[in-house]
Symmetry: C2
Subunit: 417 residues, 2 copies
């Protein structure tokens, strides 16, 4: 049987964006445009929603210079979605529609770029195509700042967020040290169930003063111990910088952020008073210690700050996208691109290779920070974590600037009619 399959390709993105997710689709788009087996390269508008709605962009019509800028452009350039497909044994309506659109455009290659939920989508479509006897090579391209995808050493997007978090906390730490009085800063970091990003705050200490305490979702959060930890350092050093994952939970598994949003009263306009986790914890510590304290939420900045992307990260993201197309052309399908990495005693010993993992092995499993990479006190990470993450944040972005400001890609996004 010949491996050669001629047809068109769809590339889609789903889930939360990252600083380098577009570098992955650039790797896929560029490789697909150059491949003789692939005639037209379509982008799905807002992921699988775009397929369901027959909203595809003709990427063959884009300017190649703008496409190249995708390498440095944050956020999902093709648009994203959070759409969960049902089990097709329960309800195959959407699957029939997807297959209808695939057939309409002779789609023989489908590349889906996203995290856990996206790999679930990718896996289900792959299985449905197999079941239906429709030949389409389907490969998942991993992406998530949360770094919680199973089976891969790490995920594109994580390292740039980690670099941003470490750099920002190193800067914040210097800022908080300028006055002669004590103060405490609590920095809230993304990561709903896995603490990879909050753990990366530890990198802020490598070249100077950074974070003092780190709290991850992997360890049950004890509010009293937290206040004691913070207060101990406050009394010893006067200045404290704390990193907390938004996903920290108490011993009963309840998110601490739920306490932060509870017991809210409406103001005189009828508006709810809100505050995030960082501010909530700041209020708790302030009430118990009286210290000057500030809650800082890194918010969207940590996942879109392409100006501080890791070059290693966006190069690997590009390679992941490229590898998806090359492997599909080579006959592979029903897999996710993953990374197998080797590390040595020096950061430069780091090596990263592509592996293919069956989609049903990665979908819906969450990878957490290993407990033996967290210290006994549950308030910091060990050297093993640093050794793991440090190679990933190496290298600076080559993001082009115009007038001192980033020049991000502007796609024309011609809808296929």
């Amino acid at each position: 049987m010949s491996n050669k399959l001629i047809g068109n390709a769809i590339i889609g993105q789903s889930g939360g964006p990252s600083s380098v997710i577009n570098s992955s689709i650039y790797g896929a788009i560029k490789t697909a445009l150059e491949a003789e087996e692939i005639t037209r390269v379509y982008g799905a508008a807002n992921g699988i929603i775009g397929v369901l709605n027959d909203q595809l962009y003709d990427l063959n019509l884009e300017d190649s210079n703008e496409l190249e800028l995708l390498k440095y452009t944050p956020a999902s350039a093709l648009g994203s979605c959070r759409h969960k497909l049902p089990d097709f044994n329960d309800d195959d309506t959407e699957y029939k529609r997807i297959l209808e659109v695939f057939k309409k455009y002779n789609i023989r290659y489908f590349f889906y770029n996203g995290g856990n939920d996206s790999m679930d989508t990718c896996n289900k479509i792959s299985k449905y195509c197999i079941k239906s006897g429709y030949e389409c090579r389907i490969i998942g391209i991993p992406k998530t700042i949360d770094n919680d995808l199973f089976g891969t050493d790490h995920c594109p997007g994580f390292a740039s967020a980690a670099k941003y978090i470490a750099t920002s906390i190193a800067e914040i730490s210097l800022d908080t040290r300028v006055y002669d009085y004590g103060n405490i800063s609590i920095v809230e970091i993304m990561g709903r169930n896995a603490g990879w990003l909050a753990a990366s705050a530890a990198l802020s200490n490598l070249n100077g003063v950074g974070v003092d305490l780190i709290y991850l979702p992997e360890v049950p959060f004890d509010l009293d111990k937290f206040v004691d930890d913070v207060n101990d350092i406050y009394e010893a050093k006067g200045k404290v910088v704390v990193a907390v994952s938004e996903g920290i939970k108490d011993i009963d598994g309840k998110y601490i952020s739920e306490y932060a949003s509870k017991n809210k009263e409406k103001d005189k306009f009828g508006h709810m008073q809100m505050g995030g986790l960082a501010q909530y914890l700041a209020n708790v510590v302030k009430a118990r210690t009286g210290a000057k304290i500030r809650g800082i939420e890194l918010s969207l900045l940590q996942r879109c700050a392409a100006h501080l992307a890791s070059r290693t990260d966006y190069e690997e993201a590009f390679i992941a996208g490229k590898a998806a197309v090359i492997n599909a052309i080579d006959g592979k399908s029903d897999v996710m691109i993953s990374f197998k990495c080797a590390r040595g005693s020096k950061v430069s010993d780091y090596k990263c290779e592509i592996e293919l993992l069956p989609l049903d092995k990665v979908a819906n499993f969450e990878k957490k920070v290993p407990l033996d990479w967290i210290n006994n006190e549950g308030n910091n990470v060990t050297k093993e974590f640093i050794d793991y993450v440090l190679p990933l944040i190496q290298g600076e972005t080559e993001l082009p600037k115009v007038n001192g400001l980033p020049r991000f890609a502007k796609l024309k996004k011609y809808i296929v009619r």
Copy 2:
């Protein structure tokens, strides 16, 4: 009379830090260390507090490579303070102490690096030395991200914060556009009484999609009109990005942030529920429009993000510090270094020259955004503002990195005994 004055120098920093404030003191320290008229160069620990407490660092003992890193290091490396000297006609206790310390160390040069309040301190000490017949050349080196110092075209520190704000909002704007549903982001920006920083959000539109609406303290804030403005864009475009200055006030001059912190109820632990201005406005808009909305506070990040400093800014900061020492050696005193700038039709036409302004002309006056640089609707800025700020944010930092992370200056800070 010969201008030549031999003695020692004190350099101090006060007020809120910035990304480039240390570039100014590096300019002053380097020039002072090289000057034959200046024997020892002392750093005041935490500004004038360090003088009052006889806590001086011997900067002659610092490693020159570490000193050079000050150019790229955020936050006040010598420590800062917020200490207001009384009128010496009412109470000269602290002035006598300052003079005592000046005499103890034969201080003949005093350089003070800060904003409005710091120039007030600098002016008062200068006038007291004149009154006391103690020869000491005293020069203020401007610094404030708020850009509200009177008499100078702009202040070192402002442009780097502006560049950070514009870049971050361009990135946030892309991030908010990835989903197929509408959403609104409200970004809170520093600037208590002058809107220069919030106005700089306008730069985010220069290379693509950025901010839609900007609210400054210079224009009375009308909550109903604000909600209408936001809702109009939300209904037309689906996505809205808003920049608000933390200093916006209602028609009665009351800070809107005061409403945000009012009517607070304590939760079951007895902790106050808090939320910033951005979150307050987000709640107001959400209650009235039902839109998905997010409040983002740039917080300390905007004033300490040296990784995104403007090269123009830190070079000018350096020149300001250097000019202070050169002019003092040349016999000048009782003045602040200021910038006189010329702009042309091209960004590269920009020229910046040093001027000396009498300290009593700059102390305690606040420079606000001219009303004719704000649009008639009071919700954006005009091209005049862009033309003003654009030359200031040009050029990228050369901040050295180690292991992919900033390598900031580490001073030994030997206390003089």
